[in-house]
């Protein structure tokens, strides 16, 4: 189906892009369109103006900055991230995730920023970015604000981004421990996914801090606080029994939507399996001390 007619603008600066959204009734930023155009074709989203951000320089940059943070421009495609040497070296789990998003055509044009801003619960990147403690940089009429990935997606298809705020950058600390991501899926989108990132205390050979996020089964990525608490301060070899001891309690605390991807018990079960497999991978990567 065709989308309804709209106006089209190609600003060359962030300021012009923001102004263009303000000037319109319900204008929207546009890049890959892999989610937005679909929704417009199905007529569940209507906009009177698309503001194409592909002509704004600098939004597709990937770099390790002086603060040892990895910066990924919001307009980077999944394909670009999957093959980027910085990401490959420091966060191979993110490379693999981006190499497996949807299909080859979506990865060619779909962007990490668009994925986040759509707030689709059955998505890969938000879960891992939350586990990586990513911050998102939003630039709007009232200036720049930085929000945590954990706070960005409010609910299904709903984020805290204002319509005139452009997501420009995803930033997260360069990991100093194993980062793992797994998903289970029937079609193109994950039914359940689990991401885990450990910060290691190199001197003691222990886990200083663990971040565990479960996504897709509820309306937004959720932390598994009980597991995180159980992992803090542990040696790597103590991980598996520690997770198993609290797993049922942790999974029971998750908000789960029953949908065509499965019932609540089934999804909780999947989350547990994926978490334990992530742990096995992290244990192997963590040196087994």
């Amino acid at each position: 189906m065709l989308p309804l007619p709209f106006e089209f603008e190609r600003p060359s600066t962030i300021a012009d892009a923001v102004r263009s959204v303000e000037d319109s009734g319900d204008g929207m930023f546009y890049s890959g369109g892999t989610e937005l155009l679909l929704a417009m074709k199905m007529r569940v989203i209507h906009t009177d103006r698309l503001i194409d951000i592909k002509g704004i320089p600098g939004l597709d940059r990937i770099a390790l900055n002086d603060a040892n943070d990895i910066e990924i421009g919001a307009r980077c495609t999944h394909k670009k991230i999957s093959s980027d040497p910085v990401v490959r070296e420091h966060v191979p789990a993110l490379s693999s995730l981006c190499a497996d998003v949807a299909n080859i055509r979506v990865r060619s044009v779909g962007t990490i920023g668009g994925n986040l801003c759509f707030g689709e619960p059955h998505a890969d990147p938000p879960t891992l970015l939350a586990a990586l403690n990513a911050r998102l940089v939003l630039i709007g009429r009232d200036g720049t604000r930085v929000v945590h990935a954990d706070d960005f997606i409010r609910s299904e298809l709903e984020t805290i981004r204002e319509p005139d705020e452009l997501l420009t950058l995803v930033v997260f600390p360069c990991p100093n421990g194993p980062v793992t991501y797994r998903r289970f899926k029937h079609g193109e989108r994950p039914s359940v996914n689990v991401a885990m990132a450990w910060s290691m205390d190199a001197g003691k050979g222990t886990i200083k801090d663990a971040r565990v996020r479960v996504g897709a089964l509820g309306s937004r990525p959720q932390p598994l606080k009980v597991v995180e608490d159980a992992l803090r301060g542990l040696r790597v070899r103590e991980v598996r029994p520690a997770i198993e001891a609290v797993l049922t309690t942790a999974l029971d605390g998750l908000e789960v939507n029953e949908d065509r991807h499965g019932g609540a018990d089934y999804k909780r079960h999947l989350a547990g399996v994926l978490l334990l497999r992530n742990a096995e991978e992290a244990i192997a990567a963590g040196g087994g001390t």
Binding site: P5, E7, F8, G33, A102
Partner: protein, 162 residues
Amino acid sequence: MTRVLPISFSLNGLVIAVDVPVHTLLLDLIRDRLGLKGTKRSCDMEVCGACTVLLDGEPISSCTTLAVDVDQREVTTIEGVTPPNGLSRIQKAFVLHGGLQCGFCTPGFIMAVTALLKATPHPTDEEIRHYLHGNLCRCTGYTKIFEAVRSLAAEQVSEDVA
């Protein structure tokens, strides 16, 4: 404000200049205005791959691409990879291995395989499966398509060795 834009792009090596309403989809421009019917509309939601064309050599879903986004770029369709007389080596491999029945998904597969072999001339079995995961075929059960592509990878290797 702009609702119609002039665009100019290369379509199978031929420069095309047209004015398009900005909400025009690339698939409709190619099929309905430019008359190239090889590219198919099927799922209309970027899942099946029947509408695959190459944009600057990369596979995209033309059903969910705005025509204005190909301005100043190169689009290749199934017509652009088919020799004037006969079939390309990829198309021949599909025929030889029985990699098609009804043929509706075939143009999309051929385009995807074209891009795959350009990027990775000797793909492994796993690379073939991963790359083609997003192209659906309801006839063949995929095995014959897979065998066709694998024969091309192997054939190229033996040519290189020779």
